[in-house]
């Protein structure tokens, strides 16, 4: 398990971040003694650091330089400053990435994952096939395959994105917004009918594998996966 060290003077932020990151299979350590960062660093030996810029005594840039003297681990800055200058300064002081407050938690996780992957090149841990199971239904997120007992069907990437949301959150209703966010493509975005088209496709896939589940629409809210009696 990779170890992440959080250096942040606002304890609420540090704790909430820590709680969220731990859900993604990381071990997290919050530095409490901000004047002894180097001691804590040497003792804990983290694999990645989340570092706030505004810290008491010395700022984040200082600590980043200090850490850089002895380690090349990934350091991600977290700061309220949006200016280019600050970001450039952070990078010049040895940072690998920069996140602006207020941040989106999923972005923080994505950046941690990316930096861990880049630094340790250890794909085995992360690319291990993610398989989601629900009763007889199995979704192979990397192989793009949906299986129900002995029947299986190939899916598109978007269908996998949607189905994994449904399976992970079963039996909760998933809002249109959340589904659209999952479907959003950075180059093609989404269109009016993107969601409808994909929902229709998933319904078809589920019948193709004879699944005992179907997708029900909830007026004005979104959709949910329900078990057929």
């Amino acid at each position: 398990m990779y170890k992440i060290m959080i250096i942040e003077d606002d304890i609420t932020i540090a704790e909430s971040l820590s709680a969220y990151i731990e859900k993604y299979n990381y071990e997290v350590f919050i530095v409490r003694q901000l004047e002894k960062i180097m001691d804590e660093f040497n003792e804990y030996k983290p694999d990645l650091i989340l570092l706030d810029v505004n810290l008491p005594i010395y700022d984040g840039f200082f600590w980043c330089r200090e850490i850089r003297n002895i380690s090349s681990l990934p350091i991600i800055f977290i700061s309220a400053r949006t200016g280019d200058l600050e970001q450039i300064y952070a990078m010049d002081n040895g940072a690998d990435d920069y996140i602006v407050k207020p941040f989106v938690l999923d972005v923080v996780i994505a950046k941690i994952n990316a930096n861990i992957r880049r630094a340790y090149g250890d794909y085995s841990n992360l690319t291990k096939e993610r398989i989601l199971n629900l009763k007889d239904l199995s979704l192979y997120c990397e192989a793009f395959i949906l299986k129900n007992r002995d029947r299986e069907v190939r899916l598109t990437k978007k269908e996998v994105e949607l189905l994994s949301l449904f399976i992970e959150n079963h039996p909760k209703v998933i809002s249109r917004e959340e589904l659209l966010r999952a479907l959003w493509d950075d180059e093609m975005f989404v269109e009016e009918n993107t969601l409808n088209v994909n929902i229709t496709r998933i319904r078809k896939r589920l019948t193709e594998v004879d699944a005992r589940f179907l997708i029900e629409s909830v007026r004005g809210v979104g959709y949910r996966l329900v078990e057929v009696e």
């Binding site: 932020i13 709680a19 309220a80 407050k101 917004e177 989404v190």
Partner: protein
């Protein structure tokens, strides 16, 4: 009194010259009766020389009085010659000092205000992050969803304030480079992804890959961001926000068109005025009247023209001329 005498001493000299020296000379030459014309000519000649000297010694002051000043420093008179000029220059220099001190004082107060606002906005971002994070974790809860939406709204207004604060410093760090317009628009759209989805507006980009413009990337991104943000905010649910390009003679025009409430024609000319919120502002109550002001200011600095066409309750197009 001293200055008055100094300034008029030449009159006394002239009088003495004309009536005593000239009078005496004429007397010696044979009396005023025979040389009257000569006397008149000589005294006028002396008057002329006197005025000429007077003019050359004082013309700076006359110029200063008759020209409309453009800068504060023009108040200073350089190389004063006459007593009057000297006194005037001295006096103006004192005024200049007072004004300058006043201005420096105000500038430093303004700088402090700016720093304070900048500082406190950044301070606010930490609690805002905490609220945002807590709301994100409770994403399924309807109340937290509303909290998150409000947090985003707050964050938008805080950024707006920061942009406004920096407006006066933009000029110093404008960097013109060749920008791929499509890539830039796509970047803005992805930044506003959540806002698009939340409002059920769908972006549509019809810009070729090979369109480039010369401009400042960061500033023009702010401009497009603002217009896009408005396009979403005032757009109709389930409609499209269209980005396309028109080529005019030597001009690339970026059109951003939304389908929504539009702007009434009486408001169009004034939407770029600061704090002007118009009818939409009154109805929606959420606009600050700063966004488009910043847009116009920045575009003026970059010397890009902007125009708006709108049909109320139908659509609005913002056009940026690169």
């Amino acid at each position: 009194m001293k200055l008055f005498i100094k300034h008029h001493i030449s009159f006394i000299v002239l009088f003495i010259l004309v009536f005593i020296c000239l009078g005496f000379t004429i007397e010696v030459l044979g009396g005023i009766e025979n040389n009257f014309k000569y006397f008149v000519f000589l005294s006028f000649f002396l008057l002329f020389i006197f005025l000429a000297i007077k003019y050359f010694r004082n013309y700076r002051i006359y110029n200063a009085f008759s020209n409309k000043p453009k800068e504060l420093k023009e108040i200073l008179l350089h190389n004063p010659k006459s007593a009057l000029e000297e006194a005037f220059s001295q006096n103006q220099r004192e005024y200049f000092k007072i004004f300058n001190n006043k201005i420096l004082e105000l500038e430093s107060i303004q700088k402090q205000y700016k720093m304070f606002i900048d500082q406190s906005i950044h301070q606010m971002k930490t609690p805002l992050s905490v609220i945002s994070m807590i709301s994100q974790k409770n994403g399924e809860d309807e109340s937290f969803k509303k909290v998150l939406a409000q947090v985003n709204n707050l964050d938008y207004h805080l950024s707006q304030t920061l942009k406004f604060l920096r407006l006066s410093d933009i000029e110093k760090d404008i960097q013109i480079e060749k920008i791929n317009l499509r890539a830039l628009v796509v970047e803005v759209i992805n930044d506003l992804k959540d806002f698009f989805i939340l409002n059920a507006i769908y972006p549509s980009v019809n810009i070729d890959e090979d369109i480039f413009v010369f401009t400042d990337k960061k500033q023009i991104k702010n401009v497009i961001y603002q217009i896009t943000n408005n396009g979403i905010k005032y757009g109709r649910k389930d409609s499209k926000l269209i980005f396309d390009i028109k080529s005019d003679i030597g001009n690339t025009i970026l059109n951003i068109t939304n389908d929504g409430i539009g702007i009434v024609s009486s408001d169009i000319d004034r939407v770029f005025d600061i704090f002007y919120t118009g009818e939409n502002g009154r109805t929606y109550g959420e606009s600050s009247g700063v966004g488009l002001y910043i847009v116009k200011k920045v575009l003026d600095l970059l010397s890009h023209h902007i125009s708006i066409k709108s049909i109320p309750n139908e659509k609005t197009t913002f056009s940026i001329y690169f």
